[in-house]
Structure formats: structure tokens, C-alpha cells
């Protein structure tokens, strides 16, 4: 097995009296694209925030790029790129200024930084809007800026929390190609999403978290075989016990609206 970039062992996270993650363990190897799936509130974003050093685990061992968390949070943050689910941004900064801020905080040398920003803005068709303030950007444009900010310092591990939200079809294809290219370059990618078709197409391996437990870890093929289902959606439904429940609930809601 190749070099482990992420090593998580018996990770527990509590918020107040509530245990959000129950002793989960997994390892991510260099160059892997791993899909992180789970229903809303399962603990996906919490896991990603712990790996990015934003939250500190309650117990268990977490190491990223060989550095323990939370002790080496600053060093870990220098080595990772993180695209948050609900990206907090400074609305009054322009796209160019936001990218410069992120690059400079990651200590990217100025000439290299400007070259990377220029290339990125052109590739994502944002060059003409680079001086507009972010509050005037559409959701998709903001998402592109967040993806750019996460990549400017050439990180070893990329954590993507719903990165395709708000992107148009062209941009989605571009991001998917970018993910494949980054993985080919040896980057490790943890990709959290609800869009199962995309995950099925681009990921080598799937982790499924449900109610704070890691209930599945394997390649798509192995998950299909073990559950005897043909699509990832069916695999997901079976593992998270959601089959048949949604249609019944929706009928109930419409009936209540009629009353």
C-alpha cells in the first residue's frame, strides 16, 4: 500500500452531551480520490473540519501528512486545501483580493502567486470579473473562487465539501477534470457530496457515514457486490435504511397541506 496521507483511528467528536462521531477509523493513501457519503447530519462535514484542523476531536488519533491533530493544526493547514460547504467569504473583497489573501496567508511567493491567480481566473472564466466585489458574484462564481483559494498553495491533501454546489454544467465538468488531474499528480482528495452519480464516476473508494458511524469503506465495485445492488444510489439506500420511506413521507406532507 502507498504512503498514508490521512490516518484516523477511533475518532470521537462530542458537542455538548451529544456524540456526533462514534469511534470511526480509516486511512487515505496518496493519490486516492475518496468519496465521503452520508445523509444530512451524518457527520461528514464534522469529519472534514477535524481533518482540516478547524475542529478538535474529543478523543482518538488523527494524523494528516504525518502530523498529529490538533497539536500541529497550523502545519497541517499549510499542507491542505479546503473547500467548505458553506464558504464564509469577505463579501467586500474582490475575487482577485480574496485569492491574494489566501495565497499570501499560505506564504506563496508573490510572482508565483500572481501567475497562478491569473491562470486560474482565465481557466475558470473569471478574468473579466476579478476586480468586482464578491457580494456581486453568483453562487457558482463564488464557488470557483473558493476552489481556487484552496489550490493556490499546491496542497498535498484536498478536502472538498460539496464543491459542485451552484456550478453550471461546464464548470462542473471542469472541476471533475481538475479533480482527476490533481489525483494523477499525486494529490489525495476527500470528496464529500450528495450527488451520487458524480461520486460514482470520479472516486476510487467510498466511505459512508451514517449517524456518526462509518458503515461502509471500500471500492464501488466491492460495495455493489456486498449489497448485491447495481447502482451506488441503491447501495446507499440499502445501507442507510432509507428505502421506501421518502415516498411515504412526501405523500403525508401533501395531505397535510390540503387540510
Amino acid at each position: 500500500m502507498s504512503e498514508a496521507i490521512v490516518h484516523v483511528e477511533n475518532l470521537v467528536f462530542r458537542y455538548g452531551g451529544t456524540e456526533v462521531l462514534h469511534s470511526i477509523s480509516f486511512t487515505l493513501a496518496k493519490g486516492q480520490i475518496v468519496g465521503l457519503l452520508g445523509p444530512n447530519g451524518a457527520g461528514k462535514s464534522t469529519t472534514i473540519k477535524i481533518l482540516s484542523g478547524i475542529l478538535s476531536q474529543s478523543s482518538g488519533h488523527v494524523a494528516v501528512c504525518g502530523l498529529s491533530l490538533p497539536e500541529s493544526a497550523v502545519s497541517v493547514k499549510e499542507r491542505i486545501g479546503y473547500v467548505p460547504e458553506a464558504g464564509g467569504m469577505f463579501e467586500s473583497l474582490s475575487g482577485q483580493e480574496f485569492l491574494e489573501l489566501s495565497g499570501r496567508l499560505h506564504n506563496v511567493e508573490e510572482t508565483t502567486l500572481q501567475a497562478r491567480i491569473k491562470g486560474f481566473l482565465e481557466r475558470f472564466d473569471l478574468a473579466k470579473d476579478r476586480l468586482r466585489q464578491l457580494e456581486a458574484y453568483s453562487k457558482g462564481m463564488r464557488q470557483k473562487i473558493l476552489i481556487g483559494a484552496a489550490l493556490l498553495h499546491n496542497p498535498q491533501l484536498i478536502l472538498l465539501d460539496e464543491p459542485l454546489t451552484g456550478l453550471d454544467v461546464d464548470a462542473q465538468i471542469m472541476v471533475k477534470d481538475l479533480i482527476a488531474a490533481l489525483a494523477a499528480d499525486g494529490k489525495t482528495i476527500l470528496y464529500s457530496s450528495h450527488v451520487l452519480e458524480v461520486v460514482e464516476r470520479i472516486c476510487d473508494r467510498i466511505l459512508i457515514i451514517h449517524k456518526g458511524d462509518l458503515i461502509a469503506d471500500g471500492s464501488i465495485e466491492s460495495l455493489r457486490q456486498s449489497t448485491q445492488k447495481s447502482t451506488l444510489e441503491d447501495v446507499f439506500r440499502q445501507l442507510t435504511h432509507k428505502e421506501g420511506t421518502q415516498a411515504a413521507d412526501m405523500t403525508g406532507i401533501v395531505e397535510r397541506l390540503r387540510k
Binding site: 458537542y15 473540519k49 464564509g88 499570501r104
Partner: protein, 546 residues
């Protein structure tokens, strides 16, 4: 000239020598200046308005007001030739008292509500660098307030009989050192809180800490004698220790406590940011049947009225910015109000008897508190959430405005005064008590109506703005003068029972009509501000898309 001075200061601060100083505190100079430039840019573009130290216009207004007041005060004291020691002590105490309230509130807001921290939490910044950049604005607060309060007295003090020639330097130096020490101590206190209190409880804990100095001041009669006795009891064993050693010991203990507190801030601050900002998100709320809510639905505008009532009531209980601002003044009003009620119950004659009664002040104290509350009502932490009101049917907004008014009028104007009616009947008899309560409710309602006119837009729908708070100080001072005039007129009216009986129904009707007009004005303000938000800013749209 000003710009040249700024350039020189900037060059000195960004020099390699100063970088070495920053590094010795664990601060990364490069990232520190990136953050400082970022915060300055965000303040200049009005995205980060919640920090007084970055609002130079507001600082100048406050410092200017204090400067004028200190000229009058120091001229008066110099004319009286009070002892130099008393002169310097008065100004030092006043400076530290004013700074304590401001610094506690500002430090709490900077550290415990780091909204911008969410956008920076995944960046490679250590705690010392981030907190250092966040708290640098406290230094400007100290400089402006110490300057405003002490510049005139330090010059005027030379004319005191015992003052040496270097008195201005001595006075200003002592005040500035005191202010800086206080700022460091405030940061130290919050550092200790971060060390001891879990991140999700920090907001509640800091609000408690903010209230402590005021509560201690107001309750000094209860604890001061016991404190003195305790000090006297340890004086015996300590009498053989030299005074310098005692001072050195005290300074050592305080210094160590502050340093340990400051070090706690720099440890793992950014890891706590996410939990701090989202604290409360896991807290479960209870759904209770609300009698008041039903009353509001029935009499104050139906379901939309109830929506306004519940929204305002719940946000007043939960919004960090509202609670933080209210804490800076409400303890004062509570203690004054309680003192007045105590005076009324224990010794006061009927307010309609000859002479002055503490009861004469009661409606005006409650009224001033209502005015202050209305000033704070427009600012909130989750101000971007007002996009919801853009999609509300137009006709619902007038009822919503009625509901907002009811959320202030019922629990803060009507119910407390009805509760006090029993006490008043016991002291003054039914007729006088009933007359006074009707008069008081009508008067406070007028104050509330005035306050409601100053609320711009949907409550809790604006970003906190310390610049407005500085203007508010001046406004409250003017209102205080007007209230004093009103108390004088009221005293004249109360001398005749007949005039009172004729005037009170008129005041009641005037209060009702003025309130209705104010609610209409408030509704127009809500519509106007929503139109401005939807037209001028894309923020709301991006929130809606999100």
C-alpha cells in the same frame, strides 16, 4: 501632515526590529500584517463594523465629547484648587471606569463572536497571530479615550498649587499606563475564560463577566464592609512585611495572572472559532403555550402580529449583539428602577401630594430604558437573515410592526407597572394609584413610540455599528435633559388633582395616537430598508441562493 505621520508610524511598526518584538510573543509578523491590512480594508468597506477601535470617526466623536466635558470639569476643579492627588485620582478613576465597560464589551465581541474567523479558520494562522491582530484595535480605543478624558486635565493640572512643572507628563503617563494595563487585563480575563470554560458556553460566560463590574459597583454597600473587615483581619500578620515587598508581591500575582491569560488566548484559538460562532446550534428550545402570544394574535394584528412579537421576543433573548449592548446599560437602569421602587414603597407620599416624590422619576427611568432598547433593537448578529422579509406579503408588514411594538409594550411597559399597582394601592390608596399607573403607562408608551421611530428597518437586521453608538451617547444626553424638563412640568401638573384628572385621559389619548403614528412610521422604515437592501446589496440574494 497627518498622512506623513501615519507613514512614519507605519514604517516603524513594519520594521524588522518591531517584527522581532512580535516574534518574541509568538506572533508571525508577515501573517499579522496581512490580517491587519485585511481588517482595515473590511472596516473601510463597511463589512466589519462591529469593532469600535476600527471606527476612527466614532472614536473621534466620543473622544471629542469627553474632551469638552473634561475642559469644563478640570477648569472647575482648578478654580476650586482641589489637592493634586485628588485631582489625578478623580480623572484616573473616571478614565478606568469608562474604559472598563468599553474594553470588556469590545474584547468580548472581538474574541467570542469572531464572525470573520469562520472564513479564516482553515488558514495556517496561529492563535497568537490571529488574536494579536484582532485585539490591536483595543490599543486605539485606549489612546482615544485616555486622550479625550485626560488631555485637558493634564494641562489644567499645572495650575494646581502643589503641581510640579512636569505635571502634564505625569498625569497623561499615569492615565495611559492605567488604560494599557486595563486593556491587557481584560484580554487576560478572557484568556482565562477560554482556558476554563468550554467553547460552547463562552458567549454566556463573557456576558456574565461583562455584567460583574456593574453589579459589584451597584451592590458595594452589601460587600464593601465585609471586604474591609477581611482586609483588616490579614493586616496583623502582614504588618512585619515591608510595603515594597507587598506591592511587588501583588504586582507579581497580577502580572502572572494576566500573562497566563494572554498565553491561553494564543494557544489554540482558531480551533475554537467554529464552536464559538455556532454555539447554541445544538441547544434545544422548548415550545411553550404563550398566553401573551395568543393575546397579541387576537388584539395586535393576527398571525403576522404574533410573528413580529415572537421574533422580537426570541431574538432579544438569544441575539449576541443585542444582549451585549444591552448589558452595557441595563444593569444601571435596573438598579435605579429598583432603588426608586424601594424608595416609593418605604417612604414616599402620594405623587399627587405636595412636594417631590421619587415616583415622579419612575415613568421617565422606564422610558429612557425603552429608548435605549429601541436603539439596540436594529442591530443583530444574523442580520443577513432578513432576506426572509423580502418574500413576505406586503400587507403582513404593518401587522408585523404592530407585533414588534407589542413585544416591547406588553412585557416592559404594561405588565411591570400593573404588577407594581398593588404596592402603590397599599401606599397611596386606589384612586391615586390608578391615576398614577394610567399616567405612567401613557408616558412610557410615548417614550416607546419615540424610540420605535428611531428603529431603522427590520429589528436585528443591521450590522452592529459602534459609530452609531457614539452618536447615541449624545442623543441620550439630550433626551436626559428633555426628560428633566418633563419631570419639572409634571411636578407642576401633579400639584392639582383636578388638572391631573383632566390631563391624564388626554395624555392617554395622545399616547395612543402617537403610538399608532409611530408604528406606521416604523412600518414605512421596514419597507424602505428592505427596498434598499434588495436593490443595493447582493448579499441578500446570495443568502437566498445559499
Amino acid at each position: 501632515m497627518n498622512s506623513l505621520f501615519k507613514q512614519i508610524v507605519d514604517r516603524c511598526l513594519r520594521s524588522p526590529e518591531f517584527s522581532k518584538v512580535l516574534t518574541s510573543f509568538g506572533i508571525d509578523p508577515k501573517r499579522y500584517w496581512i490580517l491587519m491590512d485585511l481588517f482595515a480594508k473590511l472596516s473601510q468597506r463597511e463589512e466589519m463594523q462591529g469593532q469600535l477601535g476600527r471606527q476612527t470617526a466614532a472614536l473621534r466623536v466620543s473622544a471629542g465629547l469627553f474632551f469638552i466635558a473634561s475642559i469644563v470639569g478640570s477648569a472647575f476643579m482648578v478654580a476650586l484648587q482641589i489637592p493634586m492627588r485628588a485631582f489625578i485620582l478623580i480623572y484616573l478613576s473616571f478614565t478606568l471606569f469608562i474604559l472598563l465597560g468599553i474594553l470588556l464589551s469590545e474584547t468580548a465581541n472581538s474574541l467570542v463572536n469572531p464572525v470573520e474567523g469562520l472564513a479564516l479558520a482553515h488558514q495556517p494562522i496561529n492563535g497568537a497571530t490571529y488574536t494579536g491582530a484582532k485585539l490591536s484595535h483595543l490599543l486605539l480605543i485606549v489612546l482615544y479615550f485616555v486622550g479625550g478624558l485626560n488631555l485637558a486635565p493634564s494641562v489644567a493640572g499645572v495650575f494646581l498649587r502643589e503641581a510640579p512643572w512636569f505635571y502634564p507628563i505625569l498625569h497623561f503617563g499615569v492615565a495611559l499606563s492605567g488604560g494599557l494595563l486595563l486593556a491587557l487585563s481584560c484580554c487576560g480575563v478572557f484568556g482565562w475564560l477560554m482556558r476554563i470554560v468550554p467553547a460552547r458556553r463562552l458567549k454566556a460566560a463573557t456576558q456574565f463577566v461583562q455584567a460583574v463590574p456593574f453589579v459589584l459597583l451597584m451592590t458595594r454597600r452589601a460587600w464593601l464592609p465585609a471586604g474591609r473587615a477581611a482586609l483588616q483581619s490579614i493586616q496583623g500578620p502582614l504588618q512585619f512585611v515591608p510595603r515594597w515587598a507587598l506591592i511587588a508581591m501583588a504586582a507579581g500575582v497580577i502580572g502572572t495572572t494576566v500573562i497566563v491569560g494572554l498565553r491561553s488566548l494564543s494557544a489554540d484559538y482558531l480551533i475554537r472559532v467554529s464552536t464559538m460562532v455556532h454555539s447554541g446550534s445544538h441547544r434545544k428550545t422548548k415550545i411553550r403555550a404563550s398566553i401573551l402570544g395568543d393575546l397579541v394574535r387576537r388584539f395586535f394584528g393576527g398571525q403576522a402580529g404574533r410573528a413580529g412579537f415572537d421574533y422580537t421576543r426570541r431574538m432579544m433573548m438569544r441575539d449576541w449583539q443585542f444582549r451585549r449592548q444591552l448589558l452595557s446599560i441595563i444593569p444601571l437602569f435596573i438598579f435605579i428602577g429598583a432603588g426608586l421602587v424601594n424608595a416609593i414603597v418605604s417612604e414616599s407620599p402620594s405623587p399627587f401630594a405636595a412636594g417631590f416624590s421619587p415616583a415622579h422619576l419612575l415613568p421617565h427611568i422606564i422610558g429612557m430604558a425603552m429608548l435605549a432598547m429601541c436603539q439596540f433593537l436594529q442591530y443583530g448578529t444574523d442580520y443577513k437573515g432578513i432576506w426572509l422579509f423580502l418574500v413576505v406579503p406586503d400587507r403582513a408588514l404593518s401587522r408585523f410592526a404592530q407585533g414588534v411594538h407589542a413585544s416591547l409594550w406588553l412585557p416592559f411597559v404594561v405588565i411591570p407597572q400593573l404588577l407594581m399597582t398593588g404596592l402603590f394601592i397599599w401606599r397611596w390608596g386606589i384612586a391615586d394609584a390608578a391615576l398614577f399607573v394610567i399616567y405612567s403607562v401613557a408616558t412610557v408608551s410615548i417614550y416607546l413610540a419615540v424610540g420605535l421611530r428611531s428603529v431603522e428597518g427590520v429589528p436585528f437586521g443591521k450590522q452592529p455599528n459602534p459609530g452609531r453608538a457614539a452618536g447615541m451617547q449624545f442623543g441620550m444626553f439630550l433626551t436626559l435633559l428633555l426628560a428633566a424638563v418633563a419631570v419639572g412640568i409634571q411636578w407642576l401638573i401633579f400639584r392639582s388633582h383636578l388638572v391631573v384628572e383632566v390631563l391624564i385621559p388626554l395624555i392617554g389619548v395622545a399616547g395612543y395616537l402617537f403610538t399608532r403614528h409611530s408604528i406606521n412610521t416604523f412600518e414605512v422604515s421596514i419597507r424602505h430598508n428592505l427596498a434598499l437592501e434588495s436593490g443595493a446589496s447582493k448579499l441578500l440574494y446570495t443568502e437566498m441562493e445559499g
